[in-house]
Symmetry: C2
């Protein structure tokens, strides 16, 4: 018993130290990369509102589900979705073992650098290329190839590994929400197996909280008796647009109270989140910063923001103006003179 | 500062009380409904092994993923899967508003009690009935109908609500695993939306940790401008047999280290779990208790245990003999003289 009391006193002292540290922390800004303004205030007001025990808008921790689009919301999506860049790099490196591609579209056009023919095939051509590169292998081999690519590929403008192009203000927001009892999920049109390789390190979001598009996988017992999952060239689920509420329903099974997107592909996710009872937060990242990142919206082929923007304005959702609201865009800005153009 | 010290001393005392309570708890059996024997010992040995910090088999908490089949593993599945019972009850109660069913198979046979004709249609007939009953409604209406049914339906043998027919030893096992840092998931052939309605209360497993079969849902904006998800009569994913490793890969994205099933439909999930590196636990519930529950295995139409049993014996997996290993099967046994027959 004496040792128990001693131990409890030691713990008591630790608690004292912890309480002081906590008080100090409470006085620091949880969102230092956000400029003070309406967007930041709307986030902090909402979090205070739903976490105030006994308050009229209190939400139990289990129901504090926050969902985030990935491309253009948590990391950069220009000049092409990074997963496409990965697919195209894979096709190039696999071309030597696929001589038939030299005679077969859209591979022929892509390998010959024939942009006009490739463009004529539209998005379908691009998808065909990427699907060819990432099927017929096990899920383990695919995860390894994603990690290998991230280790050597570099963004054409920023000359950095793609997974360094995550938005520092959003990383802070994710951390802030989790510190307030939220469970944070990615709900992205991107491939679920692509994102899981790097999402935990980049965002602190574990694999089981990543919802995305997927291809069919097939269970097989290999020649060595070891079971594998083979990736087939067959789409299983597209987690985009109206698919996002379906994905949320299927993977999470609760309606989020907090949703952040950046394009028309997120509109239904925002509508679905907004339609629940009680306090709700709906946010949109508006890319307004050609100097530090990119500026695009209604006319963009990638990350088009048109109808969702109109709805956001009409319904009073939070629209983040990247140029004005973000003090820092990428963490690497702090230690450098900015990206090369 | 004085108030901070006072507060920390109060917390210190609370910690003292907590430490004593914890020590007392550590001396009680975490699995009181399990008889002492090889099955119980294999579970407790494994948990000690993977949670001993610095030990050769230590597994970080984030990787402590445990997956459980539901029907026949966590709750009873006889005389028919409970979800089928629900589907058939729904068809009966909907028959008045579907006069066309009186002329249309398999509805006609079912409504007329014509078991021979119905049996001749096989499982497909049954699936058609259930799909008809549970599509063409919103996900919210469906969840309400599940809850309503559970509130009034009763099991034909035990005369209890279906969601009371959960196995007490498995509920204790789930709690024990979570207390040791495991994240517990259901991976079931049953419908994901059916299970989520009652799984959290029954097992302490939240909606986002339930993996199951699903139908396609479609996002629509209703006439009142409110978005809904409609359940379509189209299968999206069957989370059974070889589908279970695919479901685990897609929903969880990590390979489990602990898996429990009861039938051949769980064999691939067990193989997939077993194939990872390091310590693994593989368990099978063998239904050997006709007195307290049911006795069935190789010849059963529901929950057939044949190939998975052979593999379990060959590879030294833990096979739970319900009659011998479980002191209690259902929680209600304790307070009653047993179920009516």
């Amino acid at each position: 018993m004496a040792s128990l009391i001693r131990r409890s006193l030691v713990i008591g002292l630790a608690v004292l130290a912890f309480a002081s540290a906590r008080q100090a922390l409470a006085q620091t800004d949880p969102l230092p990369s956000w400029n003070d303004g309406a967007a930041k205030a709307s986030i902090m007001t909402f979090v205070a509102q739903v976490t105030r025990d006994g308050g009229p808008d209190f939400v139990a921790p289990a129901e504090r589900i926050a969902v985030f689009d990935n491309d253009g919301t948590l990391w950069c999506e220009q000049p092409i979705y990074f997963q496409f860049a990965f697919g195209l790099d894979s096709v190039k490196s696999m071309a030597a073992t696929h001589p038939e591609w030299r005679q077969q579209q859209p591979f022929k056009a892509f390998l010959a650098g024939d942009k006009d023919t490739l463009a004529a095939q539209g998005e379908k051509g691009l998808l065909t290329l990427v699907a060819a590169a990432h099927s017929g292998m096990t899920t383990e081999a695919y995860a390894t190839s994603v990690a290998d690519w991230l280790g050597k590929a570099s963004h054409p403008r920023f000359r950095r590994p793609y997974n360094e192009l995550v938005y520092q203000p959003m990383v802070e927001l994710l951390t802030y929400l989790r510190a307030n009892g939220f469970k944070t999920f990615i709900v992205s049109g991107g491939g679920v197996e692509f994102m899981r390789v790097w999402a935990e390190k980049a965002y602190g979001i574990p694999p089981e909280q990543v919802v995305g598009s997927s291809g069919v996988t097939q269970f097989r017992i290999g020649a060595d008796g070891r079971p594998v999952l083979m990736k087939l060239a067959k789409v299983e689920f597209i987690d985009d647009g109206p698919g996002k509420p379906s994905g949320i329903n299927r993977f999470i099974g609760r309606r989020p109270i907090f949703a952040f997107g950046n394009s028309d592909g997120d509109q239904q996710m925002l509508q679905w989140t907004a339609a629940g009872p009680g306090a709700r937060f709906l946010g949109i990242v508006h890319h307004t910063d050609a100097a530090r990142e990119y500026a695009y919206d209604r006319q963009s082929k990638i990350g088009k923001l048109d109808k969702a923007w109109d709805e956001a304005v009409q319904r009073g959702w939070t629209v983040v103006d990247m140029a004005k609201d973000w003090k820092t865009v990428f963490a690497f800005e702090r230690g450098s003179t900015g990206p090369s153009q």
